[in-house]
């Protein structure tokens, strides 16, 4: 009997094409919250991530940061964000400054509408996305898990959508998997689960629900052992993606015997 080679599953060469760029890792990393640059570098290396976020803040002449050096050494692509922006105007200006500072037109667009939940401000987000796309940016918007808003973001030309599973840094996982599944079906652009991941099973679930990638920040950076958690997230994203592409069995209320009934012995009369 001919056996198919078990090591050559589709997912082994399952690259993600994001705005024309081929990514071999479906895990994106945030750089915020690591206790040290050394731990950040080690976590990035272990995670296999090729795309990591950075923020733009006032320069501190006292603390000559080597963040960019560390990231260059890691060989990753920078994904600047507009963290902390509350209006489209602020976010657009921040994106333009990021393009100037880092020579990339990729931007993770965040426009925050509420201080306590850090939830996106939908109208401002859409306005900023439209303006930045028109200006030639590759826009990756942090959005709610609303399928309609995701489609609107796709329609204005966003290269992907980055829905939340739960509020940023909450570690609450994916609170509404049904919405995420609807969102997945609503758009053709890549879906990158952005916020809410707390542990590996959350990342696996995101991938099983059809997300193309997962972004982890606090979940790794603020774990007791960030490097170990980076390994866990990498494995979880790979497992979730494999499971998604393998095609899971349907859920049933009653049992379905896994052993054939046929040929069963009848011992007594």
């Amino acid at each position: 009997m001919a056996l198919s080679a078990p090591h050559h599953t589709a997912a082994d060469t399952d690259e993600l094409i994001l705005a024309g760029r081929t990514l071999h890792s479906r895990l994106l990393l945030g750089t915020g919250g690591f206790p040290s640059l050394e731990l950040m570098a080690a976590a990035i290396a272990v995670s296999g991530s090729e795309l990591v976020t950075v923020a733009l803040r006032r320069i501190d002449p006292a603390a000559r940061g080597s963040l960019l050096d560390v990231l260059a050494e890691a060989g990753v692509q920078l994904l600047p964000n507009t963290a902390g922006c509350h209006t489209a105007r602020d976010a657009v200006l921040t994106a333009k400054l990021a393009r100037e500072a880092f020579a990339t037109d990729w931007i993770k667009l965040e426009v925050i509408g509420d201080e306590d939940t850090l939830l996106p401000d939908a109208p401002e987000l859409l306005r900023a996305a439209e303006e930045l796309v028109a200006d030639g940016f590759v826009v990756l918007p942090y959005t709610t898990d609303d399928p309609v808003l995701a489609r609107r973001l796709q329609d204005v030309g966003c290269a992907a959508v980055m829905p939340l599973g739960a509020p940023i840094g909450s570690g609450m996982g994916i609170r509404n998997p049904y919405n995420l599944a609807l969102l997945r079906d609503a758009v053709d652009v890549p879906v990158v689960l952005d916020a809410g991941i707390g542990t590996a099973s959350d990342a696996a679930l995101a991938m099983e629900l059809g997300c193309d990638a997962v972004m982890a920040a606090s979940a790794i950076a603020r774990a007791e052992d960030p490097v170990r958690m980076a390994r866990a997230m990498r494995a979880a994203v790979e497992a979730g993606r494999l499971a998604r592409t393998a095609g899971r069995i349907p859920r049933r209320l009653y049992a379905t015997a896994s052993t054939l009934e046929e040929g069963r012995a009848e011992f007594f009369g």
Partner: protein
């Protein structure tokens, strides 16, 4: 008076963005830095010629861990 990263500075109207950078111990070849004056991006190519107006608000930004 020129406001540099939210602080009153010693800079005077007519001085350039490059002079503002020097206040932060930065040279015009500084990597990973961007400048906005009064809410507009000032491209690196004009840092040495762009003159600051009275009351200008200068923001000098760089990469920080985040996201």
């Amino acid at each position: 008076m020129i406001v540099l990263n939210g602080q009153r500075s010693e800079l005077r109207a007519g001085e350039t963005v490059a002079a503002a950078l020097a206040c932060l111990q930065l040279t015009p070849d500084a990597r990973g830095v961007a400048v906005a004056v009064d809410g507009e991006v000032v491209p690196r190519s004009t840092w040495e010629t762009f003159a600051l107006g009275e009351g200008a608000r200068v923001e000098v930004l760089t990469a920080m861990q985040g996201g």
